[in-house]
């Protein structure tokens, strides 16, 4: 049959991908063993009395990082924040909070309890994001494990098994079984003219069998890994029925399910106890008195010997003189603010596209998921709401806050709806997983980042053709934006990183900018 991969072809595929590329990676990884946390290494000159004024535009985490670090070194820092709160895209929503979506402002009506919060922006911290974690430690932010992939959570697609939700573990166990069977067949074929030695082949085959829980004869016949249909503790367990390979292939969710535990979202993930904004609170315990709120930057003029900032607060336009300026205002907003930046810099600012992420949440009247053996984690749906997240926090309490939708790629689909339409969409999507969902949840909130005041987007997109990597031009523009103007004005934030949408990138961009400034200051004072 045309279109089917032959064993030989499959094996060749295995040989090339598993052979060459994997070895290269393994080699490179050896050099990446973690050193000590970089923030401790941030070796900046202490000004000791020779105070210099620093204007920080925007109270995002990158701005707060600068205020904290330079403040420690004797710089006189001031943060101008347009909104009523710091944190920007680190936004934890609780009882009474304003969700400042322009044209659709909402107050959160969740019960007023410590575990009843929703991380509307950043929610997960990979254990490898060590600069961010170092600040958590230094600032006394208590962390707990975040549950991301959960094997008892659900997967649903109208195209699969008549739309009946199945457990993640049913999907992944069966899929691994079939994949392993394919691989094992390819491995044992006598025509194998393999790129492996006999003992390598044996090791590999062993792994393949364990990967899929194959029978002796390398056939997949179901597995106890997917749990028991009945028994299993006091009586012999009865194995769950196998789900046919073809059935599993009817959903495209498989790709995301099999990858959910890899890369940036692989274990171990962490979260601050009580909400992501505990990190912001940690910074504000140190630099809170340096923040001006509801102070909207209206102009940035870079001069030979400093930067002049103008901003609107309480109906009055103020001006401020500073020696240096660190700016985490999103570039797409900065384009419309008065400035005298050079044209190549402006070209880079204009090149960046803004993301469209969208989240929604409900208060659940009961923790109905726990009655289904689900504790934390994500259920997947092949509909626009995409995901339901069950909270890691508050296990066995009466109520909890569930994420009712997360569109991390598009987002405009829901953004363009009215509030009532959005909520109805999430309720009817959620009913596919939990038939009584509509009655189980209440007090909805939606966060359309594309319309959030003073943000209007989520995470800079530098690459025009996603997946095809950075073009030469894009790299040049990026490096231009990273460089300061006149040694005085620095853009910071995850927008000046090659890995946007992570707090770590925002923190590291700030550290890069401070190190660059430090070299200049040292050269001056030497």
């Amino acid at each position: 049959m045309a279109g089917f991969v032959t064993r030989r072809e499959f094996l060749n595929l295995l040989g090339t991908t598993g052979g060459t590329a994997a070895t290269l990676r393994a080699g490179a990884a050896l050099g990446l063993l973690p050193g000590t946390a970089a923030s401790a290494n941030l070796d900046l000159l202490n000004l000791a009395g020779n105070s210099r004024k620093v204007a920080i535009l925007g109270g995002g985490i990158s701005g707060l990082t600068v205020a904290y670090e330079l403040g420690k070194r004797g710089y006189d820092c001031e943060i101008l924040e347009a909104s009523h709160r710091c944190g920007g895209r680190i936004f934890t929503v609780r009882h009474g909070d304003l969700i400042d979506e322009i044209g659709n402002r909402q107050y959160c009506e969740f019960d007023d309890e410590p575990h009843m919060y929703f991380n509307a922006g950043a929610a997960r911290i990979p254990s490898t994001h060590r600069n961010l974690l170092a600040y958590c430690k230094e600032l006394g932010v208590e962390l707990e494990i975040f549950i991301n992939e959960n094997k008892t959570s659900l997967v649903q697609d109208d195209a699969m098994l008549g739309g009946k939700p199945i457990r993640n573990i049913d999907y992944t166990t069966n899929m691994r079984g079939f994949m392993a069977e394919l691989m094992a067949k390819a491995m044992t074929a006598e025509e194998m003219n393999s790129p492996f030695s006999e003992s390598e082949a044996e090791t590999l085959l062993g792994m393949i069998r364990d990967f899929g829980d194959l029978s002796e004869d390398d056939v997949y016949r179901g597995s106890f890994r997917a749990g028991y249909a009945e028994g299993g503790f006091l009586k012999h367990g009865v194995q769950n029925d196998m789900i046919a390979f073809r059935d599993l292939l009817q959903t495209r969710l498989g790709r995301q399910l099999m990858g959910a535990n890899e890369g940036d979202t692989g274990p171990i993930l962490l979260q601050p106890k009580g909400g992501m904004d505990k990190i912001i609170e940690g910074f504000l315990r140190q630099v809170g008195d340096r923040v001006k709120y509801r102070a909207m930057v209206a102009g940035v003029q870079v001069r030979d010997n400093g930067v002049e900032i103008s901003y609107d607060q309480d109906g009055v336009r103020h001006t401020m003189q500073a020696d240096y300026c660190f700016n985490c205002i999103p570039t797409h907003l900065m384009v419309g603010i008065d400035h005298n930046f050079p044209s190549d810099y402006v070209r880079a600012m204009k090149y960046v596209r803004r993301g469209e992420a969208y989240k929604a949440a409900f208060q659940a009247r009961t923790r109905f998921w726990e009655d289904m053996d689900i504790y934390g984690g994500i259920s997947w749906m092949n509909n626009p709401s995409r995901q339901i997240w069950y909270p890691t926090a508050g296990i066995h309490q009466q109520k909890g806050v569930v994420l009712g939708a997360y569109d991390y790629g598009g987002g405009m689909y829901h953004t363009k709806m009215t509030q009532a339409e959005r909520i109805e969409a999430h309720l009817s999507d959620g009913e596919k997983l939990h038939p009584d969902y509509r009655n189980l949840v209440e007090k909805p909130i939606t966060i359309a980042w594309h319309r959030m005041n003073h943000m209007l987007g989520c995470s800079a997109r530098w690459q025009r053709s996603f997946g095809r990597g950075w073009t030469h031009e894009e790299e040049e523009l990026y490096h231009r934006l990273q460089q300061p103007v006149n040694g005085r004005h620095y853009f910071i934030g995850d927008q000046v990183s090659m890995h946007s949408a992570w707090q770590e990138s925002a923190v590291m961009s700030a550290q890069w900018a401070m190190s660059d400034l430090d070299q200049r200051v040292r050269a001056e004072t030497a």
Binding site: G315, V316, R317, G336, N453, L456
Partner: protein, 209 residues
């Protein structure tokens, strides 16, 4: 745009009308309707970064009509009108008093000519513009009696979007959009994108005279 009305005031400038903040009775962060500059830039000078045009210097009557049209869904509701859809919900909840306040507020912003970003054949554009002049004026400063706004000094990239949208019927399609409907055949007369670029280049050149 009636640029002469404005003077740039140095130092502290009182920019906001008082009494706008809605009282928060329970310590909650209050709402206000003064969010326009997040998108439209400092003093409404326009922001290419989010494709929101210049408001500073805009005629009161035109500004009011556009806000009312957006609010009523007469503009910014065609599914292909990406930028109009971004603006429409921003006006959807404005009250008449709010609109009046905003018009006054916008009127306090100093006008500065927009940066030139579009370059085409201004001479070819001059030919095309002769028709436009009958409504928008020879110097593109608008004509209130005909309901045609000033084009001079507006962001050129925005003029291009509008002409494309009129041409394709994404703006001026609504049965109640009497002013927008007049513009559709005018934009179609420009023929294609090159015509649009050329006529906008000509409008740009008027600013330099």
């Amino acid at each position: 745009m009636n640029r002469n009305t404005f003077r740039v005031v140095a130092g502290s400038l009182l920019i906001l009308v008082s009494g706008w903040l809605m009282a928060a009775d329970d310590g909650r962060e209050p709402f206000d309707d003064r969010y326009c500059t997040t998108c439209h830039g400092t003093d409404g000078q326009g922001n290419e970064g989010v494709q929101a045009p210049r408001l500073a210097g805009m005629e009161d009557w035109y500004l009011k009509r556009q806000l009312e049209n957006f609010r009523a869904g007469i503009r910014g509701t065609h599914p292909m009108d990406v930028e109009g859809i971004a603006m429409q919900p921003m006006a959807a909840k404005l009250s008449d008093e709010s609109i009046a306040d905003i018009v006054e507020w916008v009127g306090s912003w100093p006008f500065k000519p927009a940066e030139v970003t579009v370059e085409g054949d201004a001479q070819a554009g001059a030919q095309l513009y002769t028709t436009c002049a009958s409504c928008h004026g020879r110097d593109a400063s608008g004509n209130e009696a005909l309901g045609a706004p000033a084009l001079l000094g507006q962001n050129d990239w925005y003029l291009v979007t509008q002409l494309k949208n009129f041409m394709a019927g994404y703006r001026g399609y609504h049965a109640d959009d009497t002013y927008g409907q007049q513009m559709r055949p005018m934009a179609q007369m420009l023929g294609d994108e090159a015509g649009i670029i050329n006529v906008v280049s000509y409008i740009n050149s008027l600013a330099e005279r």
